[in-house]
């Protein structure tokens, strides 16, 4: 074929959304992939010992980073109604039942944790998952709780999780006020539109 009038290539794995089966809840951990600037090298460890081997002088920080990731996992891990749904995404025996607030759900086991700036007092860590399911686009890839997929396979442990920023961001100490945009959409919506579309695009 000569010149195509359509896109020649589309990266389907980018377009695939988070989880094949929509989790009940996905919390935003954010930091790593969405932080504005200040990105650092991030390293994935599959156990505390793994971390201690690389940082024999920082065994205590390894423990803390791990504990922090475990707490984050309890808070932000993808959740599923059934063990089947969870295993469909993460693979057989990769999910645990959690009972909380009188209900129960299933979430995947943490496969590791990612740490940035371990030696700094402002180190940061987050839980990392992977999938063993042949249904999942995450099979043999590292992913975050909110579904960010890292490039490369499970052998790749170091990531440049933030390129250097070109220009510094302005300083913000605190937000004084919110909600100053969006009043028009409220006003127009209160008019009982016959239009079935809720959006403001055209």
């Amino acid at each position: 074929m000569t010149t195509l009038k359509r896109s020649q290539f589309i990266n389907l794995s980018r377009m695939r959304k988070h989880f094949a089966l929509k989790p009940l809840a996905v919390a935003v951990t954010g930091l790593i992939v969405s932080g504005c600037g200040n990105r650092q090298e991030g390293q994935i460890f599959t156990s505390v010992d793994d971390c201690k081997r690389d940082f024999p002088d920082a065994t205590q920080q390894c423990e803390m980073a791990y504990q922090h990731a475990v707490q984050e996992a309890a808070r932000t891990s993808p959740r599923y109604n059934s063990e089947y749904d969870c295993e469909y995404e993460f693979g057989p025996n990769q999910c645990q039942r959690v009972e909380r607030d009188g209900g129960s759900f299933f979430m995947p086991f943490m496969a590791g944790f990612m740490v940035s700036q371990l030696m700094s007092p402002r180190y940061y860590s987050q839980p990392i998952y992977t999938s063993f399911s042949r249904h999942s686009p995450f099979r043999s890839r590292w992913i975050t709780a909110d579904g960010y997929v890292f490039d490369g396979g499970l052998n790749k442990r170091k990531y440049r999780v933030s390129p250097d920023v070109y220009k510094p961001k302005p300083t913000v100490n605190r937000t004084m006020n919110r909600g100053g945009f969006g009043s028009s959409v409220r006003a127009k919506s209160s008019w009982g539109s016959s239009s079935r579309k809720g959006g403001w695009g055209g």
Partner: protein, 389 residues
């Protein structure tokens, strides 16, 4: 240009879940409809749609340049006076545009006629750039459509390249993306642009319009109190400019996508101005500001009256033989109206078909085909894929 029946792919709804296409059905009505598709010839695409789209865009830029330098026109287009500087500054700085969608009446034979320019907040982007592309790939893979079948749709490729250029223009690697709460469709459109930004190597953060804050230092902030310096907003300029936080716009110095000068193009006042500067252009319909020279053209028997600002065909009426018949109601119209010669959408079976022609910056980038039960308004439309063969 043909409408051909087609068997929906068996797995498409599961595929929609996997890819996060959540608004294929809206309010219980099908929106994505692959029970048929449209087939165009390459000549129809290139001569009748692609070339006029790029030409009209240049004509639109001419109009912007006229309006920027004319206080009377700025007033007529209901751009608030306190924001004239913001709008003209964005134009003089040549702040980059990302995309637009021109809506055309086109039947495959006669010249396409411009109905309006959705230059500020066009949607149906994901369905066009990605979803119908995937449909064609599946149909060709399964052998149902010829390997020769193509599609006028380089949207995703061009959006990624354009986002890269915009980031380079502003010297940034991070952008915010914003839309209103409670609409799957807008959120889906913005998520799509976030994905394109990711492909362009940018880091893309999301914030709801309603959640935007103002900081002690005069910058807009997201929910994590991070400053918003570069922001795509799927929210119309005519709303932004009239809301409480508008007074912070100059100092907050956000690089907006679309830039403020797009407020001139998304305004229906564009249509009479195009007709004024380019009278009798084959792709334009006669148009005037309501109340001005309305009777100038006696050849036109029926006019459609539209508000300067409106969405989804709201507040439209038909003027014929001196009487006005409302065709749709809505919350718009306080800023004034325009009239445009009535040009019904062509019918394919029981469907009235509207062509949306996409621009990424100044390049034609593909089309979307939507069908409606009515010949004028577009609030129950369905989206159908298309091919070139």
């Amino acid at each position: 240009m043909l409408r051909l029946p087609s068997t929906p792919r068996r797995h498409w709804q599961k595929q929609a879940r996997d890819f996060g296409f959540h608004f294929h059905t809206l309010y219980g009505e099908p929106y994505w409809d692959e029970s048929a598709y449209y087939q165009f010839s390459l000549k129809q695409i290139e001569q009748d749609l692609e070339a006029p789209t790029e030409e009209i865009h240049q004509m639109c830029l001419h109009v912007v340049n006229e309006v920027i330098n004319d206080e009377q026109l700025l007033t007529k287009l209901a751009i608030p006076e306190q924001h004239w500087d913001l709008v003209s500054h964005s134009w003089r700085q040549q702040q980059p545009s990302l995309y637009s969608r021109l809506d055309f009446v086109y039947d495959g034979t006669h010249p396409a006629k411009l109905l309006e320019n959705n230059a500020d907040t066009p949607t149906s982007l994901y369905e066009s750039g990605f979803w119908q592309w995937l449909w064609l790939a599946d149909k060709v893979d399964s052998g149902e459509l010829s390997r020769q079948a193509d599609q006028f749709n380089s949207l995703q490729e061009k959006l990624i390249a354009r986002l890269k250029e915009i980031a380079r223009f502003y010297g940034v690697q991070q952008m915010h993306f914003a839309c209103c709460k409670d609409t799957d469709e807008d959120r889906g459109t913005v998520q799509y642009l976030q994905d394109c930004a990711g492909e362009a190597g940018l880091s893309a953060d999301f914030v709801y319009i309603e959640d935007i804050g103002i900081s002690d230092t005069g910058y807009f902030t997201d929910l994590s109190n991070r400053p918003i310096t570069d922001c795509f907003k799927l929210y119309p300029w005519e709303f932004i400019l009239n809301e409480e936080f508008a007074r912070y716009l100059p100092e907050a110095a956000v690089n907006w996508i679309e830039p403020p000068w797009k407020s001139i193009l998304s305004n229906k006042g564009l249509l009479p101005l195009l007709w004024k500067y380019f009278p009798d252009h084959p792709n334009l319909l006669p148009a005037y500001f309501y109340g001005e020279a309305a009777s100038a053209s006696t050849e036109v028997l029926r006019w459609i009256k539209k508000p300067l600002f409106s969405r989804e065909g709201a507040n439209i009426s038909m003027l014929a033989a001196g009487s006005e018949t409302p065709l749709s109601d809505g919350p718009y119209g306080e800023e004034g109206f325009i009239i445009q010669a009535y040009c019904p959408l062509p019918r394919f079976g029981d469907n009235h078909t509207l062509i949306g022609s996409w621009l990424v910056d100044d390049q034609a980038a593909g089309i979307s085909v939507r069908e409606d039960a009515s010949s004028i308004t577009q609030d129950t439309s369905r989206y159908l894929p298309h091919i070139i063969l």
